[in-house]
């Protein structure tokens, strides 16, 4: 166990390092946002911070290289000090100091990777150039060739971009539609005054509550052609009734013949509980007086559903549908876990899982980056469309 303790120490050291970095950041901000008015503010900050920055860079870059960066640090610090002394003057210092660590974290680990991905997409990083890049940091420039390749060649060995695109839309639409429909039906059922409601609700959210990896892998096992219960059930049905057998009921080679259908079935099973819970929340917030009034007017069940339930659930449903669409569009997990191992099929891949496989099974890094940028642009358009249509972001509190 000493080895385990060693890596634990490493983690503790890292957490401390992050804490120290945060403290340094806060100290820097405090100095600029609170002490900007002191007489010694400009000279101290102009000497202290560039020197500290050089010292901080020295271990990573080497002393010489770090010292050469000094004028840049000085210029940056001069700009920052002048801005804080004459422009910002300490206004809103507290919220900015509270926000800084989180936003620096997001900038380093969310924004920078994104920018880096954009950079990669215009260069040529693949298995043969990755070692050179790792050692020297240099990459051959490739212009838009990677983007051209996205549309003209196949990300994996067989399927083309356009086939993937169509498949992605079919996948997203089918899944979200089935999630909403299934969720709606279950929520309507649960919204009655029945016994054991809480118990049923608990059982119904099990697919959502299970760790997704376990749920998908377990379901994948159940779609196995011989040992999975689905085929066991189907073959028993066929044995029991010749009529059904004549109608074509029998074991199916799920994973090899119908991978996309298998993934869809698994994902529908996984996704219905979330929609059910959201819709149920919406249903429960509808005041019963609407239904009473409709009752007096003699409205039928379908009319009540059409004119009361659906319009009133819509504000809750729409954000959930937006989320659900984005999640489904991006669902690498289900598809990769079902078809991902060596020799797995490509017939179920959607855009995002193709990117993942192109990057990590085929090591086409730059190509995958360009592909990801294209998909990101599409997602952005879709999200903007959703937000515009349903105006989900209007209420800013």
């Amino acid at each position: 166990m000493p080895e385990t303790l060693g890596s634990l120490g490493e983690v503790a050291w890292f957490v401390l390092l992050v804490a120290a970095g945060t403290a340094a950041l806060e100290g820097y901000l405090y100095f600029h946002l609170r002490l900007f008015g002191r007489k010694w503010f400009l000279p101290v900050s102009l000497i202290l911070f560039p020197a500290l920055a050089v010292l901080a860079c020295a271990p990573a870059l080497g002393g010489q290289a770090a010292a050469r960066l000094w004028p840049w640090f000085l210029a940056a610090e001069a700009a920052a000090s002048a801005a804080s002394r004459y422009l910002v003057k300490g206004r809103h210092y507290l919220p900015f100091m509270l926000l800084a660590p989180a936003f620096v974290g997001l900038a380093l680990l969310l924004v920078y990777p994104f920018v880096f991905q954009a950079y990669l997409s215009f260069h040529d990083l693949k298995l043969s150039t990755v070692l050179m890049w790792k050692n020297t940091g240099r990459l051959p420039f490739a212009g838009i060739t990677q983007y051209v390749k996205v549309f003209t060649t196949s990300p994996l060995s067989e399927v083309s971009f356009w086939a993937l695109l169509v498949r992605t839309f079919v996948w997203t639409f089918t899944n979200v539609a089935l999630h909403v429909a299934g969720g709606f039906v279950l929520a309507l059922l649960l919204n009655n005054a029945i016994r054991f409601k809480g118990f049923y609700r608990t059982l119904l959210v099990v697919p959502w509550a299970m760790p997704q990896v376990v749920a998908v892998l377990a379901m994948r096992g159940e779609f196995h052609s011989q040992h999975g219960f689905i085929n066991i059930l189907l073959s028993r049905l066929a044995d029991a009734s010749p009529l059904l057998e004549r109608l074509g009921v029998g074991p199916v080679q799920w994973l090899t013949d119908h991978p996309l259908l298998t993934c869809t079935l698994i994902n529908v099973w996984l996704g219905i509980p979330f929609m059910m819970v959201v819709i149920l929340g919406g249903l429960q917030s509808i005041s019963s007086s609407y239904y009473d009034a409709a009752e007096i007017d003699g409205a039928s069940y379908l009319q009540k559903l059409r004119y009361i339930t659906i319009p009133l659930v819509k504000p809750v449903l729409m954000p959930a549908v937006t989320l659900g669409t984005v999640w489904t569009f991006n669902n690498i997990n289900v598809i990769y876990l079902v078809t991902g191992q060596s020799g797995g099929t490509e017939q179920a891949d959607i855009l995002v899982s193709a990117i993942y496989k192109a990057a990590f099974t085929y090591n086409r890094y730059s190509y995958a980056a360009a592909f990801a940028m294209v998909v990101f642009a599409m997602l952005f358009a879709i999200s903007a469309f959703y937000l515009r249509v349903f105006d989900a972001a209007k209420d800013e509190r």
């Binding site: 385990t4 490493e10 890292f14 957490v15 992050v18 507290l94 919220p95 900015f96 509270l98 926000l99 660590p101 989180a102 936003f103 974290g105 997001l106 380093l108 680990l109 920078y112 880096f116 991905q117 990669l120 790792k134 279950l186 059922l189 029945i194 016994r195 059982l203 099990v206 959502w208 509550a209 760790p211 997704q212 990896v213 376990v214 749920a215 892998l217 377990a218 994948r220 096992g221 159940e222 196995h224 011989q226 219960f229 066991i232 509980p273 959201v278 954000p319 937006t322 989320l323 991006n330 990769y336 876990l337 993942y356 990590f360 990801a372 990101f376 997602l379 972001a393 209420d395 800013e396």
Partner: protein, 284 residues
């Protein structure tokens, strides 16, 4: 009048019965794979692939569990996951708690765009940033280490955590902090001694959310970790299930061991998680 009511009562009972039947059928579909996993985990080795559908198989034993714990590195995988997950959740919640306070209590330039930025970052699918993160981790020489995983995970749940915490802070009356300010504490003191202690429920939910997200993660772990000793449990289980179908019993046993606590925690906290989700969604 009486007859009408009784007829309605009869109709109501029949309707209720139908509803119960439908819900039970749906619940069965939802739970059956879990039951079946339990059943497979109890199967004796020679009957692993029988077409038996009974819940407790003939000759049930806990052999698969003891084999799993003895012959594989399952405990080690759990430990790896635990270390990585705890460190990330701790950092994520600390960062989120102060940022959310700024959004909840202060008006400052850039507030609105900052919050929109958070929302937009939720639209960037995590899956699309795996490649640059992977390359960054490789460049830093942190492949196959805890640190690489922690770095990759640490901010992924940050926007969501900020959203739920902000929502919760909004419900805490400002008068409490004002009272503390009158008593002579600083703004930071009021946040630390008044708001944070009152927000324990929301903080634990944010922690839990961070924790489950990292605990169940698979795709990043797949590319960053490559030696079995460093695997998280998700990788370990995939290996058990993927490569050798003969280890199905052990896979099922491991799945049960991982699922039961997660299930318990989820069911316990689901009310909170859902209100957080819908809150973030609606107010977004």
């Amino acid at each position: 009048m009486h007859d009408g009511k009784r007829a309605r009562g009869m109709k109501g009972t029949a309707r209720n019965l139908l509803i119960h039947l439908a819900v039970i059928a749906a619940a069965f579909v939802c739970v059956y794979p879990l039951l079946r996993m339990f059943s497979v985990s109890l199967r004796p080795g020679d009957k692993l692939f029988s077409a038996d559908l009974s819940l407790i198989p003939a000759g049930a034993s806990f052999r698969a569990y003891s084999d799993l714990l003895r012959d594989t590195m399952f405990l080690r995988w759990l430990w790896n996951s635990l270390v990585i997950t705890t460190a990330t959740s701790f950092m994520g919640v600390s960062l989120a708690s102060t940022a959310a306070y700024a959004f909840s209590r202060f008006r400052f330039p850039g507030r609105r765009s900052g919050m929109l930025l958070l929302l937009a970052s939720q639209m960037i699918p995590a899956g699309m940033l795996i490649l640059p993160l992977f390359l960054m981790i490789m460049k830093m020489g942190l492949m196959n280490t805890y640190l690489g995983m922690i770095i990759a995970y640490s901010v992924s749940s940050l926007p969501f955590s900020i959203w739920i915490l902000k929502g919760y802070y909004d419900t805490i009356p400002r008068s409490l902090e004002e009272a503390a300010l009158v008593d002579g504490t600083s703004r930071v003191g009021a946040f630390w001694r008044v708001v944070l202690p009152l927000s324990t429920p929301a903080l634990s939910i944010a922690f839990l959310f961070n924790f489950t997200a990292a605990w169940n993660e698979y795709l990043v772990a797949r590319v960053v970790l490559f030696s079995a000793k460093q695997y998280t449990w998700t990788l370990g289980l995939f290996e058990l299930q993927g490569q050798y179908i003969t280890q199905w019993g052990m896979f099922a046993a491991g799945s049960m061991l991982v699922t039961l606590p997660v299930l318990a925690v989820f069911l316990y906290s689901s009310k909170w998680l859902i209100s957080g989700l819908t809150l973030g969604g609606i107010k977004g």
